[in-house]
Symmetry: C2
Subunit: 433 residues, 2 copies
């Protein structure tokens, strides 16, 4: 019998603001950071790792919040946790006192995400499988028990969810073979951060084309004229066979969104991401009405399943960008994937951060094998940064994410990276105050 013994949580921050990696119209100086949870068990060979992703200040706040949940799980049988994970998950996201700080959004929700990301890592390892494989090979009835349908039953109830899961059972083997052979397509954000010079952008576009990428995301939003010039430069560099999507990172009002998106029409964009507030469902509806067939993307800053429900049902979220560390781990991610499937909206998981590529490589496999069965014209974000700090970094072949084969959820960091970049007492931060 394996027991959960104790937890640690580290505030790990990488100084990405120094070279403007990750910079955009609103997040002008992000230090990509991870609230890094380790769960230790009575089996010295079995540890779980999980993160929440933040962009610097506030990583400590999420870390503090996670600690409130530890007493619930200390000394718990791992078997009990695995069997009742849906119940324990709901107990945390709906905690009778902490929910006042949300409910089910923001710091507390991200804390639950980090914690349950570590539990899913642990459970997959206990079952000696990579997480995506553990999930897709679980019984549909068991999966339903991981989820909550609270507040979303008007759009998706357990019976409908079970139906979707059951439908894919007979196709699973073929789908698994397909991803093992081909992987899952990605797009790259690495060439288009807002702080980069024109020369740097051209060089990076060429580099990523030579490595197999055909889909490029570009940050926009500070100045319409400059954005158009930058898009012309990129179009000239990558040619007409490649695709561009843009990301405004919440910069505009509803009116400004419409003006900008209509000005970009000549670039035939694959989507426009986060034109305005990530909470403005009705604003997105107004924008969508005014821009015709341009697809709107959002979700990385979307607090939880209730917001996704509305964006999806309203028809204003045309590309669904789940975030593995803002949604409260696998339990909530699956409900959002099921709702997106119901509304026929493709999932393009968010991965511009630290550790997010390591997570989304599992999520796209789960979406494809367990739920959707279609990976044509779907692309997962890829960002070529900070992978060197992970023991099981994601692998890409010709622009495709290859399914991870190591056991767990792939987020364990190298000990020396944690030591170096722990904030504020790691070597890096001590020497660079």
């Amino acid at each position: 019998m394996t027991k959960i013994l104790r937890f640690t949580v580290e505030d790990v921050r990488f100084p990405t603001s120094k070279d403007l990696t990750g910079s955009d119209a609103i997040h002008t100086d992000p230090d990509y950071s991870a609230t890094y949870v380790t769960v230790f068990t009575s089996d010295s060979n079995l540890e779980g790792y999980g993160i929440a992703f933040t962009i610097g200040k506030g990583n400590d706040i999420v870390a503090e919040c996670i600690k409130h949940f530890f007493p619930i799980f200390e000394n718990m049988d791992l078997e009990n946790l695995e069997n009742e994970i849906g119940k324990y998950w709901f107990k945390c996201v709906d905690h009778s006192q902490l929910r006042w700080l949300g409910p089910e959004k923001g710091v507390v929700h991200m804390a639950v995400a980090a914690l349950f990301n570590s539990f899913w890592d642990l459970i997959a390892k206990k079952n000696k499988k990579p997480l995506w494989q553990f999930v897709v090979e679980s019984e549909p009835e068991k999966i339903i028990n991981w989820l909550t349908f609270k507040y979303i039953e008007d759009v998706l109830n357990p019976e409908q969810a079970l139906q979707i899961l059951n439908k894919s059972q007979s196709e699973k083997k073929i789908r698994i073979d397909s991803i093992l052979n081909e992987g899952y397509p990605s797009y790259t954000t690495a060439a288009g951060w807002l702080g980069y010079s024109d020369d740097k952008i051209v060089d990076l576009c060429k580099k990523y084309i030579s490595m197999g990428w055909r889909h490029f995301k570009v940050k926009v939003g500070l100045d319409l004229e400059a954005d158009v010039k930058r898009l012309e430069l990129i179009r000239k560099t990558i040619g007409d066979d490649c695709h561009i999507m843009v990301d405004a990172n919440q910069q505009w009002s509803v009116t400004k969104s419409i003006e900008h998106i209509n000005a970009y029409k000549k670039f035939n964009l694959l989507f426009v991401e986060e034109p305005t507030s990530p909470d403005d469902i009705l604003g997105f509806v107004k924008i969508k009405k005014a821009v015709g067939d341009v697809r709107l993307a959002t979700g990385e800053a979307c607090g939880g399943r209730v917001m996704f429900k509305q964006f999806l049902e309203s028809g204003s979220m045309n590309v669904c960008q789940i975030d593995s560390c803002r949604l409260a781990s696998i339990n909530e991610i699956l409900t959002v994937m099921l709702m997106a499937h119901k509304f026929n909206v493709p999932i393009f998981p968010h991965a511009g951060g630290v550790g997010l590529c390591e997570y989304v490589q599992h999520l796209c496999m789960i979406d494809y094998v367990l739920i959707n069965g279609d990976k044509n014209n779907k692309f997962v974000e890829y960002s070529d940064q900070l992978h060197e700090h992970f023991i099981y970094p994601c692998t890409l072949k010709n622009g495709n994410y290859m399914p991870p084969l190591d056991h767990g959820y792939s987020i364990e960091m190298k000990k020396e990276s944690v030591t170096e970049f722990s904030y504020p007492n790691g070597n890096y931060w001590k020497n660079n105050k």
Copy 2:
């Protein structure tokens, strides 16, 4: 020249879960708590006090978060803060790194609320007025500079806001005289907490009727039959001349909301509060369509102005329940009041908590004098708890809030209360582990 010198923040918790005061269908064991900020200045007679309200665990998290903002203001001229308060406020709610934890919602937003509540207290005291009076006597152009219209311009722009403020200028004197004489009407929640016995409810209803109240709010949500019985009991006790409203505290799905609300129709309720998730704008629209002229109330758990914008524009928020500690202080509260006025939706501020009555006594005066000019059929929540801990507790006459006359925003606590209930090292908590 007065300078801001330094800050302290205390985690103050009152053990209200012991007698189930504040209990409802979802918040089963609240310990009413305040993240209590003090700002000290170079004038030893001038200090500012502010709180965020929470319900126990997590009060510490908000306190930790507030500390991140202190360095921005240490050594700042108070005059500079007063003149540029809109700019500094936006710098905080839109902080380039902390915004990732929201944006503009949850812990970070509540931290900004507490901090700016302390600043508004300070500024009102510097100007030797109660806060409501300082606000209503400020020039409309000056007030506009306190606000942001980011993300709400499709519904309210600065020119429209200015028009509303200008329109009330000629009426202000009459309105001020009216509230000084009559006060502002309230309703009471004190009789209807979910944990109370029938006898206790009857006794409390009688007590509050004898004190002048005619409007009673009752918690519902766990069991439809029990709720109907309780409502019958209360109707029998208070008679047909009094009014009942119910509060479900987010307990139901959309479908269940419709079922319950229709079952309550015979009680001719003044409103139904928080039937479902406070984020579910489109869910509220569905409910509103199905329940006809029953008014839906929500807002106390509504993260920020973007959510209010949508609830108000959609017609599904028929009573607007702003919270003085969840909205980011006066700067954001005013924009929500202005939007509610535009859509002709009455403001019924939330006050079931600690210190909230002390805050809302200012807010209703501001709404009436500066914006709305009508207080017929409008009622501010009143909850008869924990006022003994405040130096300037609210005053009610015949069920009406009387306008506070002391300088500031009325939230200074007695030193002995802070000492006794500081968590975890105050005497009370040391002796009751």
